[in-house]
């Protein structure tokens, strides 16, 4: 069993598991932090961003000035933003049989895999994962395609040139794998390869293994996966949460008794408690708005935003903010808000019951009804007519490199009354802000990451007791900035095996058993013999038939009638069905009793010697030696067949035959 690790990002995993005869890809996350190296794509012509000076080397060489621009004291690539793909060279991806998706954040690289590697298999995911994943991809494509960029920079990626660049460009890794965004056509084609599954549904893969998605409690439709054969079980835990937010709670019990548990997608901010952060979010929002400032919340169009809107729903009246407009701007805002209300069966119990009241599960419906929350596909069109300040705007993209958020950063960045509140933990907020400096607006970082923290992981592992844990290397040591925080790492026994990008792990367990079925007629013919209470044995002669990874024992074919020309070897061959059957022996020979029996049968002058493996019984008179060991008995006599047979029969008396 092997694990090929194609991504080094612990929360955007992409691993390939080879298990029995199957090749299973676990998630295909897309690392978008690479876009932080690019200039923002402004929706509205920005004089500032369009007149940036080109970058030149220290010696004045300006050959890169078209590709690299200086902005706010940093150097950025002036090009269509690019993403860091999972490894494509470590394993032939056309051999991947299936791809299992855990949640909508972990499928963003799917079109790259399904459309460009020769992949011919099936993708499995739950319905909300697919629907919301589609929204995320659609938004991404829309954000990038609506600001066409003439050029695609590639010169700077040359290794010899990259060395000369200032940080962080100099230190950017895997730049050769960076690719520009896929198209909607590729998205549609990729999504058409997905087969929908439900929680606890058992899916047979070629008869070799069975895969099952389990609720992971993190997002709508988010799953962990069980991959099991008859005798082995691998659990894949990715992006799970034990907090009570909107999704169905995590199914922990089904993860028990795993041979291997692959652990990914823990919280990215283990020191921040989501409840505290939500409080921080609300307080800062209220404080800004009360002072007449605007609040900008860079966010994804689904996920935490539902919880934030729910908190605000409860909070705005008490904080005296009910007249403040909330705007949600995204090409998929409408679909996201509506989708969330229809996936009742994927919601937590509390929200499920609301469906029967009937009441929409999420209170944002009421916010929309009462005109407190308004949503728009973009800042163009209706929004510009309705726009009223002070207000709160939720919009993407959290990287601040594309999407409507770029416009608001340019618009509001100059006033210290305004605040940008970062809630998505995927991007370093300081790096995200780099091209907007100097910035007068207040910046508040309250990352809300509801995924498991290390205390919860430690409890989970104690509860489900896997034999081995495999996790990204980042989880096996405290975070570099807090090296004393021994509590911020996975703590288990035996210690977790760690992986990093482009590594192949041999998983530490061997398969020992295989299940084989016996045809009824063959089973009928068996004559089991009880050799110990509760244990019976029978000899089987059969043909092993293997097809589709299933093994069946069938009755042996009747032997063909002997043809004239063939010579018979033995007389006993006359009986056709048991021609090869010699009885099998079992049991052990008690030496004392054996010696007594020999004496009873007239042998005398018997000596017994102990050896390392057993005993030697010496019949001195007959010059014969009987060597008794655990798994063999030898009678060594001097060419006296009669004596040998006599002795053999005496030995056999102590053994069972069947």
């Amino acid at each position: 069993m092997k694990l090929y690790c194609l991504s080094g990002h612990p929360t955007l995993p992409c691993n390939v598991l080879k298990f029995k005869s199957t090749t299973i890809m676990l998630d295909c996350g897309l690392d978008m932090t690479s876009t932080l190296n690019f200039l923002p794509l402004p929706l509205v012509q920005s004089p500032r961003l369009s007149s940036l000076p080109g970058w030149s080397l220290k010696d004045g060489n300006a050959f890169l000035d078209k590709e690299l621009k200086e902005c706010s004291g940093h150097v950025f690539v002036d090009s269509v933003p690019e993403f860091c793909l999972p490894e494509t060279e470590l394993i032939d991806l056309s051999t991947v049989d299936v791809i299992l998706i855990s949640n909508y954040h972990c499928m963003m690289a799917l079109p790259y895999i399904t459309e460009h590697t020769g992949f011919t298999g099936t993708v499995y995911a739950t319905e909300p994962t697919v629907q919301i994943g589609r929204l995320l991809m659609e938004e991404l494509v829309n954000f990038i395609e609506r600001v066409p960029k003439a050029q695609s920079a590639s010169l700077w990626k040359n290794k010899d040139i990259q060395r000369l660049l200032p940080s962080p460009l100099k230190d950017a890794v895997e730049v050769s794998t960076w690719r520009r965004c896929y198209t909607m056509q590729e998205v549609n084609s990729a999504l058409s390869k997905i087969q929908l599954v439900g929680y606890s549904q058992k899916i047979e893969l070629f008869g070799a293994v069975q895969v099952t998605p389990l609720s992971s409690g993190y997002a709508l439709g988010s799953s962990n996966w069980i991959i099991q054969s008859h005798y082995e079980k691998v659990s894949y835990v990715s992006g799970s949460s034990l907090l009570t937010t909107h999704p169905q709670p995590m199914d922990q019990a089904s993860l028990k008794n795993s041979d291997v548990l692959i652990l990914t997608g823990l919280t990215q901010i283990p020191t921040a408690n989501p409840d505290g952060m939500v409080g921080e979010f609300c307080s800062n929002l209220a404080l800004t708005v009360r002072n007449g400032g605007n609040v900008l919340v860079p966010c994804y169009p689904s996920g935490v935003i539902y919880d934030l809107l729910e908190c605000l729903y409860q909070y705005i009246d008490s904080a005296g903010l009910s007249s403040i407009p909330f705007y949600f701007i995204s090409p998929v805002a409408n679909s996201s808000l509506e989708f969330s209300q229809i996936f009742a069966e994927w919601l937590c119990h509390n929200k499920q019951t609301k469906v029967y009241l009937p009441e929409p599960p999420f209170p944002h419906a009421e916010l929309i009804q009462t005109n407190k929350l308004k949503h728009y596909p973009s800042i163009h069109g209706d929004f510009s007519n309705d726009f009223r300040q002070p207000c709160v705007v939720f919009t993407g993209h959290p990287s601040l490199r594309f999407g409507d958020v770029v416009h608001f950063m340019e618009l509001w960045g100059k006033s210290s009354l305004n605040t940008v509140i970062f809630t998505e933990p995927d991007f370093s907020y300081l790096e995200a802000l780099a091209p907007y400096q100097p910035l007068a607006m207040k910046c508040i970082y309250c990352p809300i990451d509801t995924r498991l923290n290390f205390i919860q992981v430690s409890k989970l592992l104690k509860e489900v007791q896997p034999l081995h844990v495999v996790c990204p290397e980042q989880y096996t040591q405290p975070p570099p900035a807090q090296s004393h925080r021994m509590d911020l790492m996975v703590d288990c026994q035996p210690p977790a095996m760690s992986y990093r990008r482009a590594e192949v792990l041999a998983l530490p367990f061997k398969r020992r058993y295989e299940k084989i079925e016996i045809m009824p007629e063959l089973a009928d013919s068996l004559v089991p013999m009880e050799i110990k209470p509760g244990i019976s044995l029978a000899t089987v002669s059969a043909v092993l038939h293997t097809k589709d990874n299933k093994h069946v024992l069938q009755p042996p074919p009747r032997p063909a009638q002997p043809t004239g020309g063939k010579k018979r070897k033995r007389a006993s061959d006359d009986i056709p069905d048991c021609k090869v059957l010699k009885p099998l022996l079992s049991g052990s020979i008690p030496v004392d009793q054996f010696v007594q029996t020999l004496e009873k049968h007239g042998f005398s002058d018997i000596k017994v010697e102990d050896t390392a493996k057993g005993h030697i019984v010496l019949l001195q008179e007959a010059e014969t030696l009987i060597q008794i060991e655990e798994d063999s008995t030898h009678i060594i006599c001097d060419d006296d067949e009669v004596l040998r047979v006599r002795l053999r029969d005496l030995v056999l008396k102590f053994l069972q035959k069947f």
Partner: protein, 760 residues
């Protein structure tokens, strides 16, 4: 005992002695015991028994083997103990092995022991001395009890050891006869031997016993005792030894060496924390010379829950010890401060220890709310002492970290606010305290920024403690220039005023208090919100009157009344403008309030007003002209209608308060202006008629216009003293009489019997 109870008692005793007649509940028996205790305290129990032979019969009856319920048995034993404690008429009870059946037996045993030992010991003259009081001289029953205790102490069964230790604890705690010396001399070797066992059995009971012995004036002179205590301190685990150490340090008198040892035990966990956090080994800590890794590993338990428990109890012990006059001296203020700060840093993850132990401690304590609360309380108490400048800086820094952190739970935040306030108070420049120390001034700006955010918290507890903090700060520094500037430059006053509309009533109440305090100091904000940016601006007085008259919950209205009373007392500007109108408006609102506390507060405000009108002329009667003027003012604000009505208020505290108010007024008015002198009697009939109607429960009738003379006449005619005495009796004084208890118990027995019959 009154005759009615004596008449009921035989029937009750018969019921109690009858196993077929179960008694409904234990509380009856407890009340009965309380009553018997009161009766025996008041008179001779021998007499009581002679007059009520049914009691003796009951006690004799209990001795017979039968199916008595354990609760009756326990009751009888405790009753016997009550009698035996006072009289020597119950010696027949001694030595009965069945005495150990109930938990009450231990106490009874002590009583018996006391009774038996007191006789022989006190019979001797002082010349014979205590040395003569040997075990062989003890009465047989006492020898038997002591023998039993000895057996228990030697037993392998922990419950028996515990039981014996409990009996001894009670004995040494309650009995102070010389005989206890003999008993201790006899048993202390066995107690000391418990320490040889591993683990020490019943450690808590042992600690209790030793403390009880150490507190006994008769026994504490025994040098052997202190030796045993010292051994116990070193044998028990830090967790078990903590209460003993704390107990020793609270003693007025004990050997200095032992105090040092005990203090060492209490300090050790904190010393370990300091050691674990030290960047380099050998940093001077709490325990000079004793610190070391080995000690740290031994002291701090590896299990999280035990370690947390140890730290919390250590901090609590030290917190209690700090203000005591007999606390250890020198008090290691600086290292204790350092330890509290370090613990808080471990708890919020900001400590960066380099040692392995430090890492382990960090992993155990990070995010632990219990330890955070205990450490913040302790830190607050330490503000009483001074500390080195850099440590005080660290204290404020860590407090700010807690106040700023989004991860601080509401309870932790509340404690952090409290501790911060104490430190700010402590760091005021003595003795004039008129200004904050420069350092505290720096902190202030950051504090206000935090407060601003906390007042917007979605969690109401946080908003509430933020407002309380603001009120306290304003109370102390409202007159101080730096504070005023910083506060007015911030959003805090505005936010505080917006919270008068908070959906949570507790927060509104705190906002009322804050608004009152801010307004007193002239620091209130003009209320405006994004909702109504251009709305009509109300004065703080109008705002709070609005709360008093319209708020649906009691807390904010009570808070408003407290603020008004304070304003009146302190001569708030808004009040001083037209004091009479202010009082009239407030009383009108308060008198009709449904909440009795608001009405009491209303009367309190009326009393203040009255004192202001009349009190200036010192104790005794007011001069007639001042009185006449005052009475007219009181009539104008309609104080009398409120006060007279309140006399018959269905809530007793209101009536009491009103009684006090009118008594005060009568005292001021009494000698002067009597009707005889005036020569004509005012018409009091309408007032008395109104009073009668109110007494009868007809509240609707108004009193109408009153003449001051009529009021004085009514005041004199009312028997306010009698009314005050009646009100002083608790409202359930009838239900709580012993007679009622006996009747109830008998009645319940009857009912139970009936039910039983119905079942068949």
């Amino acid at each position: 005992m009154d005759p009615e109870c004596a008449r009921l008692l035989p029937a009750l005793c018969a019921v109690l002695a009858d196993p077929r007649q179960p008694v409904a509940d234990d509380t009856c028996l407890e009340k009965l015991l309380d009553w018997f205790k009161a009766v025996t305290d008041a008179g001779s129990s021998l007499l009581l028994l002679q007059e009520n032979p049914c009691l003796v019969e009951l006690l004799f009856h209990v001795r017979k083997p039968q199916d008595l319920s354990s609760r009756i048995l326990s009751f009888a034993l405790r009753l016997a103990g009550t009698f035996a404690a006072q009289e020597d008429c119950f010696q027949y009870l001694q030595g009965d092995p069945s005495l150990f059946v109930a938990s009450a037996a231990g106490q009874l045993l002590v009583h018996i022991l006391d009774l038996a030992m007191r006789g022989p010991a006190e019979g001797r003259g002082p010349a014979e001395g205590r040395g003569r009081l040997q075990a062989r001289d003890w009465p047989a029953c006492a020898r038997r009890i002591v023998c039993h205790l000895e057996d228990c102490l030697c037993s392998e069964a922990a419950p028996r050891v515990t039981q014996a230790l409990h009996v001894l604890t009670t004995a040494f705690g309650h009995c102070h006869g010389l005989w206890t010396q003999g008993l201790w001399v006899q048993l202390s070797p066995l107690v000391a031997r418990l320490l040889e066992k591993d683990p020490v059995p019943a450690p808590h009971a042992l600690v209790e016993l030793l403390l009880s012995v150490a507190r006994s004036s008769v026994l504490s002179s025994d040098p052997g005792l202190w030796e045993t205590v010292a051994q116990t301190l070193s044998h028990l685990s830090p967790m078990q030894a903590g209460p003993l150490a704390a107990g020793i340090l609270k003693l007025q008198d004990c050997p200095q060496a032992l105090r040092i040892q005990a203090f060492g035990v209490l300090l050790r966990p904190l010393a370990c924390v300091l050691e674990a956090a030290a960047q380099a080994p050998g940093t001077p800590g709490l325990l000079e010379g004793a610190a070391g890794d080995q000690m740290a590993v031994d002291t701090l338990p590896p299990s999280k829950s035990v370690c947390v428990g140890l730290l919390c109890s250590t901090l609590a012990h030290l917190e209690l010890l700090q203000p005591l006059p007999q606390r250890p001296s020198p008090w290691p203020q600086a290292p204790l401060l350092a330890a509290a700060v370090t613990i808080l840093r471990f708890c919020n993850g900001s400590a960066a220890p380099s040692s392995e132990l430090g890492g382990h401690l960090c992993a155990m304590l990070v995010g632990c709310v219990r330890v955070q609360r205990a450490a913040l309380d302790f830190l607050g108490v330490l503000s009483q002492g001074l500390g080195p400048r850099e440590l005080v800086t660290q204290v404020f820094a860590v407090l700010l970290e807690y106040l700023v952190s989004p991860d601080s739970s509401p309870t932790v935040l509340k404690k952090a606010f409290q501790a911060t306030l104490r430190w700010l108070l402590g760091s005021a420049v003595p003795p004039s305290c008129c200004d904050l120390e420069p350092h505290a001034q720096l902190v202030l700006r950051e504090l206000l920024a935090v407060l601003q955010k906390r007042l917007c918290s979605p969690c109401w507890e946080v908003r509430d403690s933020g407002l309380e903090f603001l009120t306290q700060m304003t109370r102390h520094w409202g007159g101080q220039a730096t504070f005023r500037q910083a506060l007015l430059a911030s959003e805090v006053p505005k936010l505080a005023s917006q919270l008068l509309q908070d959906p949570e009533s507790y927060v509104r109440a705190s906002a009322v208090a804050a608004a009152g305090q801010l307004s007193s100091r002239g620091l209130h904000a003009a209320p405006s919100s994004p909702e109504h940016p251009a709305g009509p601006q109300k004065t703080p007085l109008e705002e709070l009157l609005l709360v008093l008259t319209t708020d649906s919950e009691g807390f904010p209205r009570r808070a408003a009344m407290r603020v008004f009373t304070e304003w009146l007392r302190d001569g708030h500007v808004a009040v001083a403008e037209d004091r009479e109108r202010f009082v009239a408006r407030v009383l009108q609102a308060a008198s009709g309030d449904l909440d009795w506390e608001v009405r009491v507060q209303g009367l309190e405000l009326a009393l203040v007003f009255l004192q202001q009108l009349l009190g200036a002329c010192g104790p005794g009667a007011a001069p007639p002209c001042a009185l006449a003027q005052a009475l007219r003012a009181l009539c104008r604000v309609q104080l009398f209608e409120f006060a007279f009505r309140s006399l018959f208020d269905c809530d007793r505290p209101v009536a009491q308060k009103s009684c006090d108010l009118l008594l005060f007024l009568r005292a001021k008015a009494a000698p002067s202006g009597s009707p005889q002198e005036a020569g004509e009697s005012p018409d009091v009939a309408p007032v008395e008629a109104a009073l009668r109607r109110w007494r009868a429960g007809e509240q609707g009738q108004p009193l109408g216009e009153l003449a001051p003379e009529a009021i004085l006449a009514v005041l004199r005619s009312l028997d306010l003293e009698a009314l005050r005495d009646t009100l002083a009796e608790s409202s359930d004084h009838v239900e709580r009489s012993p007679q009622s208890l006996l009747q109830d118990m008998l009645a319940t027995v009857g009912v139970l019997g009936d039910n039983e019959a119905d079942c068949y």
